[in-house]
């Protein structure tokens, strides 16, 4: 496998891992997890704070109400006791005394009789409270509901007299408490929302280096081998960045070494090749002086020296591609003129080139020497595998468009064709398909089509293989290039 193919394979493996991770945990997953943690965290925290605060406020309020009620009840009970111990001692007087003191909801038990009836009368006093105060003679208090009003009932025994009860409304406290609850609820909601926002921000921050790594891996897969992640002070991300960069450097180094090796080998091969081809030529000039068997051997030798030379040239060319050392010498070329000239210098100059429609006037921008090799390689390929003389035609790439945009240069042969499953791998280096017997004869060096692909892609075009247009067996290799029509 060539260096570039290794790069592509390795980088796409890295990319696949990153992509898989991003599907599982990173892209959506990590972000979602961070967001979820922040949301749940802020929700729990604010709920806890709200509930605790509410509890504290309520017990505070209750305590306050409780003690102030108790103080008031004791004072009023004292007044009642005083009134009942005086002369004449009637509940009537005690009640009047309480009215003077502005006591709102008193109930007195005196001499087995109750004062006060109605809504806040003795009927509203729970039995258990009555029992504790009147029978156990202990002061007691109880929260109860009268109608829909929550009240605190305080009962104080009046020794030998009876007992004193008073209702204290707790509605103010409840109102205050529900205000507090509402504020706390709103505060909790706001805090949670802030937590979610913070979580989203943190999630984005957390994913950013991973996204950067994915992008860098994609760039490397695309051939930009010098792509690196930025250095960072963050110790956690620093590990990711530095190991990613180490990987990229190792990959780049290895690919460069591979490319340099291929290039060095080809360079080293050129010197013996020079000697070989010159010597063979000297012998060819004296071919007729040789015995018949030596002639056959010489023909084999010179044929393979030429093939060897072609292969080394192809290897050099392809290692130049890998090193990115190819610079196109772009010119405007009249396609039909160019293709005819390219065919004329190919191994079968006799092929006629047909042109259809607007393609006859089409002009492409290209490197004529490199594109000529593309055409020559396709013709050689057709000759090697196609059986018989191929045909070459030039056609409009998009006949339905109002203006000419593309031209297609096609070479058709009469061979067995290329099976559909081999059509994409046939342009790889030294590709030998399943039908190797058919498509790779003795000429099957396997670099010609790879070079075609590299050259055409460098020109911004594409190349593919299809069935013959007339339906007969055979392959149709098509190059599509951008073209314009001169005014």
């Amino acid at each position: 496998m060539s260096g570039r193919a290794v790069a592509r394979a390795a980088a796409s493996r890295v990319l696949a891992v990153l992509r898989r991770q991003s599907q599982r945990a990173v892209g959506f997953g990590l972000r979602r997890n961070v967001l979820l943690i922040f949301t749940l965290g802020s929700l729990t925290l604010s709920a806890f704070l709200a509930v605790t605060t509410y509890g504290l406020v309520r017990s505070n309020l209750t305590d306050q109400r409780d003690s102030s009620s108790r103080v008031a009840a004791y004072r009023n009970a004292q007044a009642v006791q005083n009134a009942l111990q005086g002369e004449p001692a009637t509940a009537e007087l005690a009640t009047r005394e309480l009215q003077r003191l502005n006591v709102e909801r008193p109930v007195i038990r005196y001499g087995g009789e109750w004062t006060g009836t109605g809504r806040f009368g003795f009927e509203a006093i729970p039995d258990s409270l009555q029992a504790r105060v009147l029978e156990d003679l202990t002061p007691a208090r109880m929260i109860t509901n009268v109608g829909d009003e929550t009240v605190l009932v305080v009962g104080i025994p009046l020794p030998e007299l009876g007992g004193y009860f008073e209702f204290f409304s707790m509605e103010d406290d409840n109102r205050a408490l529900s205000n507090v609850a509402l504020s706390l609820f709103l505060a909790a909601v706001i805090t949670t929302l802030l937590g979610v926002l913070l979580g989203a921000f943190a999630a984005r921050r957390a994913v950013r280096p991973v996204a950067a790594a994915a992008q860098a891996a994609k760039a490397i897969a695309g051939g930009r081998l010098d792509t690196r992640l930025d250095d960072t002070q963050d110790p956690d991300l620093g590990v990711l960045a530095s190991s990613f960069n180490d990987m990229a450097s190792a990959l780049q180094l290895r690919l460069e070494r591979d490319a340099r090796f291929a290039s060095d080998v080809s360079h080293e091969l050129r010197s013996p090749l020079m000697t070989l081809s010159a010597s063979v030529e000297v012998m060819q000039a004296r071919r007729n002086d040789l015995p018949e068997r030596a002639q056959s051997a010489l023909d084999l030798l010179s044929g393979d020296v030429a093939r060897f030379q072609g292969l080394v040239e192809d290897l050099l060319e392809i290692s130049r591609f890998d090193a990115g050392a190819i610079r196109l010498h772009l010119e405007d070329l009249l396609v039909i003129e160019f293709v005819r000239q390219a065919v004329a210098v190919s191994s079968t100059p006799s092929i006629a080139v047909a042109a259809h429609g607007r393609a006859e006037r089409a002009v492409i921008r290209g490197d004529r020497r490199r594109l000529a090799r593309v055409v020559a390689n396709l013709i050689d390929n057709a000759l090697a595998y196609g059986g018989g003389e191929p045909t070459v035609d030039v056609a409009d790439g998009a006949p339905d468009e109002p203006a000419l945009t593309h031209v297609r240069i096609a070479v058709e042969d009469h061979g067995p064709g290329v099976p559909v499953e081999e059509r994409s791998i046939i342009f790889e280096r030294f590709a030998r398909g399943v039908g190797a017997g058919q498509r790779t004869g003795s000429e099957g060096a396997g670099l010609g089509l790879a070079l075609v692909d590299e050259h055409v892609r460098m020109h911004g075009g594409r190349v593919w293989v299809d069935d013959r247009l007339d339906g007969k067996p055979g392959a149709r290799f098509v190059i599509e290039l951008m073209a314009t029509e001169p005014e």
């Binding site: 360079h267 050129r270 010197s271 013996p272 090749l273 020079m274 000697t275 070989l276 081809s277 010159a278 010597s279 030529e281 000297v282 000039a285 030379q309 080394v312 040239e313 050099l316 130049r320 050392a325 610079r327 010498h329 010119e331 405007d332 160019f338 000239q341 390219a342 004329a344 210098v345 004529r368 020497r369 000529a372």
Partner: protein, 226 residues
Amino acid sequence: MGTRILAVEDDERIRTAVKLALEDEGWTVEEAASGEEAVTLFARQPPDVVLIDIMLPGIDGFDLCRTLRRTSDVPIVMVTARNDTHDVVAGLEAGADDYLTKPFAPKELSARIRALLRRVRPSAPGRERLVFGDLELIPEAGKVLRDSTEVHLTKTEFRLLCELAENPGKVLSREALLDKVWGYDYFGDGRLVDVHIRRLRTKIEADPAAPRHVVTVRGLGYRLET
């Protein structure tokens, strides 16, 4: 004595094989293993064509080319290791007339040498002298005068100027010039023409950056102004 070729190449086996192949063309081949040896041989008896490998021990091919160019207009073929722009253009700017990339077929080399030799004896435009402003061309004598002072051109530069002068005011495409001057087909290297035009301008133009004689016609080629 026939045509003499000086082959400068440090690899002895290549040198010998190339010598054998070129001798089959009926040429005499002298060998030099280094630039220094080539300079000595050249001084003793200047050859008709020099073949220089760029990668040489000691003074390299570019320097050797420049050294020879200081005193001679002999046709020079460079052998470059790579076909990249740097080596080719540097070789041509050092004064080479043509180049080949290793590995080349000896047949190709002899074709290049034949084209260069043909060029040394140009088919004269037929007129005795041609005048273009301050420029004067005497094809028969192989002379070019600027402001009545002789300008020294290499044979290829002279031949290029003659082709342009044969069609004054007419645009000649790179392909046409490659065909006429170098004997290349449609797929010759246009850089040959561009570098030689540039070198020609430094010799015959008052201001090579703003040429008045040899004008570039964008996308088409070159023209000699009348």
